[in-house]
């Protein structure tokens, strides 16, 4: 595989992540997320981890997607959520969250830089994995921004899933598709799925109880 052959799917991943997180039309955002997860599965396959690809496709795309659509109430439920998210976060809110997100990103970028520059990577770093690291950082940045910024709970769940995918890509880029990495990602995928299912079910219950789709800016809510 040539370097440019790696760049196209990497760029596509970032574009899909951005589209999924920016779209105020929730059903479209969920569909884009499923496409994103399928592309992630393709990435694992190309990295030589077919089992991980299968798990990503089933857990990440199929089941998480189903959970999200269930959260929206578009699987034949009686009271579907409004299809568009109109909420706008007031300016100057959640400064602490922004700082935390920026600190996270700066730390991650600095560590990746140190590992690449100092040649400290345990596996000799291959040129092929550089796009993986860059993509991971970019997707993490998008996920962190969305998680700090969005109010709608479904969009925060999407942001969490995208952020998780960014971390997985970084993990694979740093250590290669070793068995440890696959184990960590496997656990991470299961956790993300359970978290999404629980979150979507909660969202439905909260919406049914008092029609809300966000937590409201509670005190001490700084991430």
């Amino acid at each position: 595989m040539s370097l440019s052959g790696e760049l196209v799917p990497a760029a596509l991943l970032v574009i899909l992540a951005a589209a999924c997180l920016l779209d105020r039309h929730l059903r479209r955002a969920c569909l884009v997320f499923i496409a994103f997860a399928l592309l992630m599965a393709l990435a694992w396959w190309r990295l030589g981890a077919p089992w991980l690809a299968l798990v990503e496709a089933v857990l990440g795309a199929l089941l998480t997607g189903t959970a999200l659509f269930h959260g929206l109430g578009h699987l034949g439920a009686r009271s579907p959520l409004p299809l568009r998210d109109h909420a706008r976060r007031p300016r100057h809110q959640a400064t602490a969250r922004w700082l935390a997100a920026l600190a996270w990103l700066a730390l991650a970028a600095a560590a990746v830089w140190g590992l690449l520059g100092g040649g400290e990577l345990s596996v000799p770093s291959e040129v092929m994995r550089r796009p993986l690291l860059a993509t991971g950082l970019a997707i993490m940045a998008l996920g962190l921004w969305a998680f700090a910024h969005h109010l709608h709970l479904l969009r925060r769940l999407l942001a969490f899933n995208v952020l998780g995918s960014g971390v997985f890509l970084l993990l694979a880029g740093l250590a290669g598709p070793t068995v440890e990495v696959q184990g960590l990602i496997l656990v991470g995928l299961v956790v993300a799925l359970v978290g999404s299912v629980l979150g979507a079910a909660l969202l439905r219950r909260l919406h049914a109880l008092d029609g809300r789709v966000s937590l409201g800016g509670g005190a001490g809510d700084d991430r």
Partner: protein, 490 residues
């Protein structure tokens, strides 16, 4: 460094793993056939702490147990030393007490059996996860156990199904998920830099440097978030105030401490000499002690007082970091013992206090402090339990809290780290203030007679036993401390 792998599983190891995983089938059985009385629950769970006692006696003879599971090319490491064994014993006792209490609690709050049944498998999952955390010796097992614990805890918080519980649970879920991603990123950096996940190997290989520091910062951020250490404690109080009493008791006693335990393990192995960072953690702990104490003093509802007091008491644990970093061996030993004694004493006392508070609230039917007036006459046993648990939190002799804070004070003076002395004194005064505020409300003698609905006697008894256990731990602290000394610092 390779870990010796014994091909034939020793009897101790087999017994340990059976007792670690036994809560899962027990939880499933209780889900299918919900227990109606406390006795069967106690009988079913009682073998587990007995097994752990036996394991502890074996540990005293032939040192720690360790080993690794091979799973499709993955090596999952575990080890049982004195500290892990003692924490396992504490966990099993508290889980058993909470399980028995939960049976009475379901009857007292009159929840349908079907709606309560979900509690049991989650309790089993929580028990297994906590056991795994104490014995895990690699980052992958720790990750899986931490997540299992977090998700089971969220599930238990949601069981009441009220809007308040659901909102608090959703916030907790989002925090926990993001915290776990911070943890995973830290693990990714360590794996990228050193190519291994087992703690012993990382301790040997990892050199202090920018990457190790950043990885530790990310791991610490995730864990502090899950441990509700100031300023990341925002999710704790609403969650505790709206959950069922046995759930808040377990959560305040054990779940938040598991994250602290992991943080301490990693810190000791990866960055034991990081002075500035250790002082930062100590500073956060001090702020937690002061802020938690102040908020507990200002809170208007009984369960909120208890929940804020958890935020404050967790701060004492954080003082261990500066006292262990670059200090003399004498100081480190004192601080090490003080920390685990404080953890155990607080776990017992906090569970007792939550249960006593829950009993008071259930009996009176109101949760505001002002509504407790006159409970000293109508509910003397619940109030006495609350008071005995408070003795440990305030650090009065002869409780475990006293011994722990005394050791901590000695360590701080010996190391010449005076700020912590001031914090310890101020924290104690604040604790006295909020405890006496509750007692003053309850001791109003001329309160109009109101209708109280006493809770089943077993619930009061369990809370009282836990509160007395916290006192007894102070008197009999020599046994666990001797085991800890033999185990030594990691």
């Amino acid at each position: 460094m390779s870990v010796p792998l014994d091909p034939s599983l020793s009897v101790e190891a087999a017994v340990l793993w059976l007792s670690l995983l036994a809560p899962l089938p027990l939880g499933l059985v209780a889900w299918r056939f919900p227990p109606r009385r406390m006795l069967p629950v106690l009988l079913a769970g009682a073998p587990l702490p007995l097994v752990t006692l036996w394991l502890l006696s074996r540990l005293a003879v032939d040192g720690g147990l360790e080993g690794a599971w091979s799973l499709g090319g993955l090596l999952l490491h575990w080890r049982l030393d004195a500290l892990a064994g003692l924490l396992l014993l504490l966990t099993q006792l508290l889980l058993l007490a909470s399980a028995a209490y939960a049976v009475g609690h379901r009857r007292a709050i009159a929840v349908a059996e079907r709606d309560f049944a979900g509690f049991w498998p989650l309790l089993g999952g929580l028990a297994a996860a906590l056991g795994l955390i104490w014995v895990a010796a690699d980052l992958l097992t720790l990750y899986a156990a931490l997540e299992l614990m977090g998700l089971c805890a969220v599930g238990m918080m949601l069981l009441p199904g009220t809007a308040q519980a659901l909102t608090a649970g959703m916030r907790y879920l989002l925090y926990a998920l993001v915290g776990s991603l911070a943890w995973l990123l830290g693990v990714a950096l360590l794996l990228g830099a050193w190519g291994r996940l087992d703690l012993a190997g990382l301790a040997a290989d990892a050199e202090p440097g920018a990457v190790t520091g950043i990885a530790m910062a990310l791991l610490a951020a995730g864990l502090l978030l899950k441990a509700a250490i100031f300023p990341l404690h925002g999710w704790l109080v609403p969650v505790h105030a709206s959950a069922w009493t046995p759930v808040s008791a377990l959560h305040g006693a054990l779940v938040v401490k598991a994250s602290f335990f992991i943080l301490m393990q990693l810190w000791q192995r990866l960055v034991p000499e990081a002075l500035a960072a250790a002082w930062l953690l100590g500073g956060l702990g001090s702020l937690a002690i002061l802020w938690g104490g102040l908020q507990a003093w200002r809170a208007s509802e009984l369960k909120q007082v208890v929940a804020w007091s958890t935020v404050g008491q967790l701060g004492y644990l954080m003082l261990a970091f500066p006292l262990l970093a670059g200090t003399s061996a004498a100081v480190a030993t004192l601080a090490w013992q003080a920390t685990w004694l404080q953890l155990a004493g607080h776990a017992l006392a906090k569970a007792a206090m939550f249960m006593a508070a829950g009993n008071l609230v259930l009996a009176v039917g109101q949760s505001r402090l002002g509504d407790l007036a006159g409970t000293s006459r109508w509910l003397p046993l619940s109030l006495m339990t609350f008071g005995i648990a408070a003795v440990t939190l305030m650090g009065l002799p002869p409780s475990a809290g006293f011994t722990a804070k005394w050791l901590l004070l000695q360590a701080a003076i010996l190391a010449g780290q005076w700020p912590w002395v001031v914090v310890l004194v101020a924290g104690t005064l604040l604790t006295v203030a909020y405890v006496f505020r509750v007692l003053r409300c309850a001791l109003v003698e001329d309160a109009p007679r109101r209708e109280v609905r006493p809770v089943p006697g077993g619930m009061d008894l369990i809370a009282l036993m836990l509160a007395l256990a916290a006192l007894a731990l102070g008197l009999g602290a020599e046994w666990p401390l001797a085991l800890l000394r033999e185990g030594g610092l990691p």
